[in-house]
Structures are given as C-alpha cells and as structure tokens.
C-alpha cells in the first residue's frame, strides 16, 4: 500500500492542487484535509500548502495556525510525523510553534515571483534524496518571504544543521543569512518559502527538481514501515 500524505486546505489556500499533484507524481496517495477537520485520517505525513489562508488577515499564517486541523498536526509532528510547510505553510508552521523564526515582508516591499536556485544544506525527512550541497531550481513567489530570527536562534539553526535550504544567490527578499528553509530539531518538520510543488514537471515549471522533496519523504516512510 502506498503512503498517504495529507494536504490541508484552509479558506484561501491556493497551492493545494499543486501540492496534491506533487504527492501523486512522487507515487503517494494525496488525502485532502479540511481546515475544520480534527482527524487526520491516519495519514503518514502532511503538507501545509501555500496561499493566503484566511486572507492573511491579522498576520500571515496566524489564524490558520489556530484552526481545528492544526491541533492534531502539531501533536503528530511532535511525535515525529513528517510535515512540510511551503510558503504560507511555512508561515503557518512558524505561527504554530513547530519552527522558530518568522517570515516578514520582503525588503523591497513587493511580491516577488521568479525562478530561483537553492542549495540543499541538510539531510532531513524531506531532503534525504538529495546530496547535501546540491543546487535545485524552484519558483519563489511571495510578498512576505523574508526569514528573520534573533542572532542566537540563527546561530543555533546553523550549528544544529537545521538550515535546510539557502538561496544560492543573495536572497531577493532579504532573508537573514539567505535562509530559504529550515527544519525542526528532529529534521521531520521542514518549512521553506520557495515552491517545490511548482517544479515537478518541465512542462509547467522550471524543471523537476522539486519532486525530490516528495520522493525523499516517501523513501523515509517506506524505510520506516
């Protein structure tokens, strides 16, 4: 039986269809989870996709982090279930306390949509299929993608090998230390601003580099089974 990966839809979520497609392309079953769900239907991992959940009102990700479905997601993540937050999903994971730091407005104060090169810098549940140091090309598309944290937190993330993705060129959004994505201490929860789910097919994206995140977690899930 193939792995089952949940994809959450909040009101205002936009990239849920893309995340579900990426899950399917990787060979897993995509399970739709609704923001009001309190049961994760026994999924093996969860993707929190991008968009503007609840219109980004109050603060990007703040309301979604407190929605019914996030309770069981946080519980499961603390028990080691792999969770991937992309863009707004990354913001939600930070707001939910699963990842440190915060995402604030881009330094240029404008939305940025462009293909970008990232360096994979850590071996996690979502990057185990990549050689550390590999460069991948995926789209970045966000207005509030600048990762910030205090110096101590940044040093800790670097020291513990939890900077998972770094912009290969100076971060266009002004992210501190060019950080594009980070992980939890156990490497099971990963959040990143760029969109690997938009890079799974050269027909519709810059290539298929992004698929590696989804096949990585499948490898981990299968190995654990």
């Amino acid at each position: 039986m193939s792995a089952r990966i949940g994809v959450i839809t909040f009101p205002g979520t936009l990239d849920d269809v893309d995340a579900a497609r990426a899950v399917r392309y990787a060979g897993a079953e995509a399970v739709s989870l609704w923001h009001r769900d309190t049961d994760l239907q026994g999924v093996d991992a969860v993707v929190v996709p991008g968009g503007f959940s609840y219109g980004d009102y109050l603060r990007a990700g703040a309301i979604a982090a407190r929605s019914p479905v996030m309770g069981p997601v946080v519980d499961a993540a603390r028990r080691g279930m792999p969770v991937l937050g992309i863009c707004n999903g990354f913001q939600i994971l930070c707001e939910a306390g699963l990842l440190p730091g915060a995402l604030v407005r881009n330094t240029g104060l404008r939305f940025i949509c462009r293909e970008i090169r990232l360096r994979v810098e850590a071996d996690t549940a979502w990057t185990s299929g990549f050689e550390v140091g590999t460069a991948i090309t995926v789209p970045l598309k966000s207005g509030e993608g600048r990762f910030v944290a205090d110096g101590e937190t940044l040093d800790r993330l670097e020291g513990e090998g939890r900077v998972v993705f770094r912009y290969a060129e100076p971060a266009p959004n002004g992210a501190l230390r060019d950080i594009a994505g980070i992980s939890s201490a156990d490497g099971r929860v990963v959040g990143l601003m760029p969109h690997p789910e938009h890079a799974i097919d050269p027909l519709t994206g810059p290539g298929a580099d992004g698929l590696g995140l989804f096949t990585s977690v499948l490898g981990r899930l299968t190995a654990a089974a």
Binding site: G12, R110, T204
Partner: protein, 767 residues
Amino acid sequence: MTVQDQATGTPSLDTVANAAATPEHEQPYAALGLRDEEYARIREILGRRPTDAELAMYSVMWSEHCSYKSSKVHLRRFGETTTEEMRRHLLAGIGENAGVVDVGDGWAVTFKIESHNHPSYVEPHQGAATGVGGIVRDIMAMGARPVAVMDGLRVGPLDAPDTARVLPGVVSGVGFYGNCLGLPNLGGEVVFDPTYAGNPLVNALCVGVLRTEDLHLAFASGVGNKIVLFGARTGLDGIGGVSVLASETFGEGGEGAGRKKLPSVQVGDPFAEKVLIECCLELYHAGLVVGIQDLGGAGLSCATSELASAGDGGMEIDLDQVHLRAEGMTPAEILSSESQERMCAVVTPENVDAFMAVCERWDVTARVIGEVTDGENLRIHAGGEVVVDVPPRTVAHDGPVYSRPYARPASQDELQALTTTGLARPVGPAELAEQIVTLASSPQLASRAWVTEQYDRYVRGNTTAATPADAGVLRLDESSDRGIALAIDCNARFCLLDPREGARLALAEAVRNVAASGARPVAVSDCLNFGSPEDPAVMWQFAEAVDGLALACAELGIPVTGGNVSFYNQTATTAILPTPVVGVLGLVDDVHRAVRHGFGAPGDAVWLLGETADELDGSAWAGVVHDHLGGRPPRCDLAAEARLAGVMAEGAARGLFSGAHDLSDGGLAQTLVECAVDSRIGAAVTLPPGELDPAAALFSESAARMLVSVPAAAEADLARLCVEVGQPAARLGEVGGDTLAIDGVAPLDVAELVIAHAATLPSVLDA
C-alpha cells in the same frame, strides 16, 4: 405601514404610492447623469414619476457604462458580420456575461476582457484590484472555474511624475488581487504614452474552463424559484458615478448631516472572492443553481433587472432581507451599491436548504431576497412598502440609444501626410547597433519583468507559457493534453494614424501572437478604449475601429464573443490614442507540442517567415529615435496572417519548430534581441534578402511576420510546407554563441543586451 424615521417621525421612504401621489416632486435626475428627455421617457414608461429607488436604478442602468447608449449602433456590426459558420463553436456570445467556446471533448472555455480605467486613476491599487475581481466574477457567472488572468496596462511616460504613483499602484493591485485568488497571470501589455498620463487604461482579461454541461446563463425563470444573494455584505462603498446618492439632498432617508461618504472606488477583498469561487463551483457541481448573475457595476439594480429581464416572468425582491454592512441604507443606496464579491443566484425552492449548506461550509453569507413571480414587473419592497415597480426590460435593455455624430477630423490628412520619409536613418554597423540597443532599452520596448515578477504565474500548475512569451499557454486540465493560448494586443499609435487599419492590425497581432505558440485562433474578445463620444472625431475613430475589427474578424472567420466599451478616456479636450485592445483565444491540441518562445538550441536554423516592406511610419523606431508619429500604419494583409498562422499550427503539429517569436514593435531587430535575451543565447544572421536598406530591414514593422528556430533535420520539411501554401520564407542564419551577430551590424554581446533590456524599468521605478 409607512416606515417612520424614529428621530423625526417623518416618512423616510419614497414609495410607489407616494410617487404616484406627488407627481410634482422635483428629482435630481440631472445630477444623476440623466438628460431631460431620458427622465421624461422614464415617466412615460411608468406613467408616473419614478421613486427615488427607481430613479437610482434607471440612472445607473442607462449610464454609458451599463447601457452602451453611444456605442450600441456601432457594436451591431459585430453581430451583423458574424456568420453561422463562425458561431458553430459558440455556446454563448455577445450579451452574456462572457462568450463561451466549445473546445471539444466536453470542455468549453469562456473569456472576456474588461476595462477599469477611471477607478485606476483615482486609486490605482484598489481600482486595478477590483477590475480583476469584476472580470473574474463575470467568468464565474458562466459556470466556469476561472483559470488565469492577463492585463493590458497603459500609463503616461515612464519618467512622468504621476507614472510613479499610477503604475506601481496598478501593478500591486492586479498582483494583490490575482495572486490572492490563486489565478496565474499570463502577462499582457504595458504601454507608455503621454496621452495616458491623466487617463491610464487598465484592461483585465479572465479565462475560465468548464464542462459544457455546467454552462450557466443569467436568467430567472420558473415561478416560485428563489432569488439568493450571497457573498459579501452590501455597504455604502462604490456608489460610483452616482455618488450624489449619498448626499443629504437626495431623499430624506439615512442619518442626515454628517453621514460618512465612502469613496466611489470600491475596495476589494480577494480572500472573500476566492472563497466565493470555490463556493460557486461546489454549488454548480451539485446542480443547485438555475441561473446566476454576478454583481458588478450598478450592483443589485443591474443583477435583478437583468435576471428578471432575461427570464420568463416577474420578480419580487425584499430589500429588508439583504445583508448590509452599514446601517440606515436607503433602498436607492442598497440598489446602487457596488460592494464587491457578491453573486445572485436563482434556486428552486426544494434546493434552498442544500444551497445554504454549501454556503455555510465556505462561511459565505447567503440570504433569500426574493422570488420569481408570474407577474411581468420587477417589484422591490423595503420596509413593507413597494419602492420599485418596473418592467425589467425597460431598465436592463431598453435604455436610450444614440447615433452620435461622427466625422473624420480635418487634422487626419495632415497627420497622414507627416510620414517618416525625411527622418535620418542609421547607416553603418556602429550606428545600427547603437539604435538597436537604444530601442531595446527604451521604456517602450524594455523588459516588463519589473511588472510580471509581481504576478504569480505558477499557481494551479497548468501554465506552460507566460510573458515574455508572445502568448500565455495553459493546459486545460491535468487529465488532458488540450490547451489554450491567449494574447492581448493593440498598437494604439497605428490606430491614431488610421483607426480602421489600426484595429485590424491589433487583431492581426493578437492572432499572430497566439499562432506563435502553434495554437489555432478561434475567438475574440475586445476592450474598446476611446475618448469622449460627444467629440465627433473620437466617434469617427470608434466607428472606424469597430467596423474594421468586425470585418477583419469575419475575414479570419473568428467571432467576437464579447467585450467592453470604455468612453470618456481623456484629459480635458485631449483624448487618449484610440485603443481597441483585442484579445484572441487559441486552441492547442497538445500542450507538449506548443512552440517555445525565443531561440531554439545551438546550431538550429533561424528563419524569417513573411515579407518585409519599408514601413516605418508609426513604428517604435520613429517614436523612440525621432519622437515622431505620423504617416500611415503598415499594411494589414489578413490572408497573409491566416496563412502564417496555418504554417505555425501545422509546423507545431509536425514538431518543426524549436522556438518562435513574432515581429511587431521594433521590427526584426527587437525580435532578434528578445529571442537572444529570453533564451540567453546568441545567433549569427543576415538581413532578409531584397532591396531594403538595413534600417528598414531591421526596424520596419510590416505585419504577418514570424521568426522561427528550426532544427537542421526539419528545415527541408519546413521549406516544403512554405512552398505548398505560398508562405514567403527566408533562412537568416543559425542560433549559437554569446553574441547577436547581424550581418552589417556591430556584434552585440548577449549578456550586455540582457542588462540593457532589464535595467530600464527598475532604474526609474525603484529610484
């Protein structure tokens, strides 16, 4: 019972009974934009004076924006020139919210382009944002899922002070709304011209996809069926061109002096619209909707009168059931409010509960506000009284129609006599190279990445091409290889020189851009932006452009499926360049075979399809190098355009092309530069054979031309295809290297071209 204002005890409602009893009551019809004879006609229709609410409805629905009273007599040309053969694939055409084209396999595509010009000048961000929101709801109202947007933007000169306010605001508005809705933006146009400085144009296109069985049309039929208003609450915002409605002098309702007047530009909430889209689609798929209408300009006045007018009975509406966001709104204000993100549905009584349950799931507020009756009139109640009792057709469709005087201005001859013949042309390799770079880095032709990088093009995962490609290309659905291509175009400089030929050229360019992807053009939507219809010279431009476009569509066999007219685009007495923007929809049988933008692989041959004549009048070269606009536009040969499009479609199907890019603004020179820049590779080419001097060969903007890249193995096949159909073609050279080497021109370093092309907009807009 008469509603009493609690504070004063005076009647606060102008009821039908009250109107009948007080024929002499003076009404502010002129301030609402109605002429004496129009007001007299309303009294004649009703056999009494209108109530305040009725006057509000007629005045907005009979406005130029809603009634097309100045353009109607000309727009008939589109219907007259559309043959049965052209209608063959149309499931809905002009008159519906948007045209719908059957594309096969049970799929249909609907698209429309619409203007939001004046609001975008007053408040660029919200004006542009709600322009996107409005066109998206038009597409939803056809039963379709909106799948992409495009936008055509026209503003003053790049370095004009107000451009720094208008352009960034408009772009952030388009991006904010579209990005939040999760609709990929495929690109469009950004044009700078002094005539747009006080009157920018924001034209937004939306395309939607549906299964043919899900097609929904706006009509209210079936006695007893319920009218449901759902979505955002109705407020005092956007009581637009009739903002006088919010003044204390109109009626005695409301809260008197000190009442807050909200801006006439609506404020958009894309999150509410995103939720509304998903809610509507779930309602459609569950079969819970009989008819549907979006609420845009003229709000409930428009939605109720149009639904009732298109149905087979009357309609009763109770304004007390409308969910409001302000207190004490008068019936006239409720009917005229242009609050965004609202829809109106016709639902059978037995489906109302299920309808409400879907709305509840999406946290969308919905209320039954009325029902279809077996009467003939649209009757609207408020406070238990009848405040509107009108034949709906007289509001929605039987507005005034004017045959405005039009005349070719005497200045047109002078303008056409002012040709480019005497302008100094560049000679020698260095000067030619210098002017190529000057053009490529001019505001007119520089990279639009500053704009398009603020738009999400990836969301939903079906975008296979977007700007800077000539056409946006979308896969219809993951389960299918079918796709669509879209382009919007207008060279308004050509339209000033000759509105008829200019409109034909706009169509030709949009067709060519769609053809560049290998798609077959199938349908047209237009957005006709002009100055004041009360100026006979402007009206002449309009009449010429419409007739020219209608005949050109007939010649190409592709129907106009809908669109929009925007008049009064002028600053004092100076009208904008006549700007009939044309959107063309094309079909792609297999998105994997769509032709890529730009140059192909190193070693591939570079071919020029089409013939180049010495046509520099109105060109970007004349404008940028000499600040000149005069003469006659390039000749538009639609048979040549159709032949070229045929070669592109056939060549794409056979896999002959590794890249393509049309020739338009800036001519061959600019196309070569853009191919090199966008593909990050050089080429070595000669100029096309013939008698032309190098400047004409490089900068002429002759139509019906395309630059294609062809793998060596496919060259013989392409040559045969061109001979078979009589397509003029010339092999210019090969792709490769780090320089753009044009015979007779100093070599141009691709990396330097990339920088020159990219730097212009940021250098001004980020300064």
